[in-house]
Amino acid sequence: MDGINVFLLVMFIASIVIAIVTCKKIIKKDD
């Protein structure tokens, strides 16, 4: 895989992780 695809893969994983982690944090805070 070239550099561009690796970069895009990292952004993809980051967006999933950010979504799941922040979702849990916000729910905890709201509760």
Binding site: N5, S15, I18, A19, T22
Partner: protein
Amino acid sequence: MSDSLIIFLIFLVYVGGLIYIIFSNSKAQTFEDFAVAGRSFSWPFIAMTIIGTSFAGSLLTGQTQFGHDVGMVTTYFVASCIMGLYLFAIICGPLWKVGKKYNVKTLGEFLELRYGSKRLRIFVGAALLLVEFPWIVTELLASGYAVQILTNKAIPFNMGMIIIAVLFTIYVLFAGMRAVIFADYYQGWIFILCGLTLFMTAMFVHFGSWENMWIETRNFNEELLTVPGNWWGEVPGPMVYTSLILIAAFGAYMYPSLFSRIFAASSPKELKASLNVTPAFTILFAIAVFLVSVGTSSLSQYGVEDSAYAFLEFVSSLGPVATALVAIIILAGSLSMMDSMLGSWAIVITNDIITPLKPEISSETQIKIARIFTVIVACLGVAVAMMELPMIIQIVTRVYQVIVQAFPLVIFGLFWKKGNLYGAWAGLLVGFTVCIYTQFTLPDYIPALGGLQGGVVGLILNFIVYIAFSLVSEKGRGSEELFATYKERL
């Protein structure tokens, strides 16, 4: 590692994350939970669900096709989103308070409360559902394109649509609004962070710079940089751009799916806080998607078979990860839109059509009925999506023209005490009649009016007739108690 395996693994990771975030929430227990998620969500969720529902998968197919073929006119969407958000800011607070105090879950319920008419509730509920139905079709079409990109056209287009429809329906059947909003939140992040990065990367790889993209576009065809541009051999007239903006801005929050989002928030403060981020994302998205889609027209190797593929091929030419991501982003957008619409179909049919006729039905029965209709609507959506249809952008703009006719009823209903039932019926019927007439005669624009669309003419007459008839009688003017709700702290 082969490209197909990379694409498959990325898709698995996406689905895995989605399943995790959906199933880590409890199933809807009551109809209130199913319909408005217990009115419990804070602003990040509201912002993402608005973005998810507003930025559908068909944006990356139909709207980019519009940019590729016609040019800058596709940016009407940005102006209409910003204007729509401003209108949302005006109506969301009062509507939320009314929803909380009187347990309103849908637009139809609000209209019955305000105008005192069950018939109006049933009629508007049914009409708006019918009008929203084509969006289910456009999203299924977009999903079909996504599956084609994901599988390199190994799975036939119609089969791809059926697979997605089955998966989406199963998810919506058990989700209810709560899980829909969590899923929108997850997909919103992929859409924004991943999507923006992907599209800007594609632009820089192909063109090297913004400046170069515009130079190449101008050299290819200057008309693409003008508004309204050349509409597949026709020039509609200068008013069409204004018309597109107005119709989409006034109509956006009349869709049952977006309207109901207002009631999912935990307070008006959370609704307004969500507006801190949504306009910014709209502008970023405009730059990354709409402007770049105009640039893709200068690259003749993309969109040869069907210009709706042009933007997708442009992006996926970067490699297997880009291919997987653009398909996922379309599916994420389509799912965000479809779960809202299938959900709101089920809720509105149950809440605004069946319950007024049979008020004694239990919450469990309401949920059962809602689920049955989810399946029926999804099947109908697939059946229609397989027919010979106009372009996605034509379907979208025609639908907006009709749905916008509900706007005067809501805005006057909220803020003008003299607005009455006669005004509501008269305005709505006049607006619908003009719209439906022009849908069959001049569906995209009216040349004699400089390109103005039938929906705008209908809306103007709707406003005038509403005011005129409201001054005739006091019937259905709404109680003082209702208007006092806006000032209450709830």
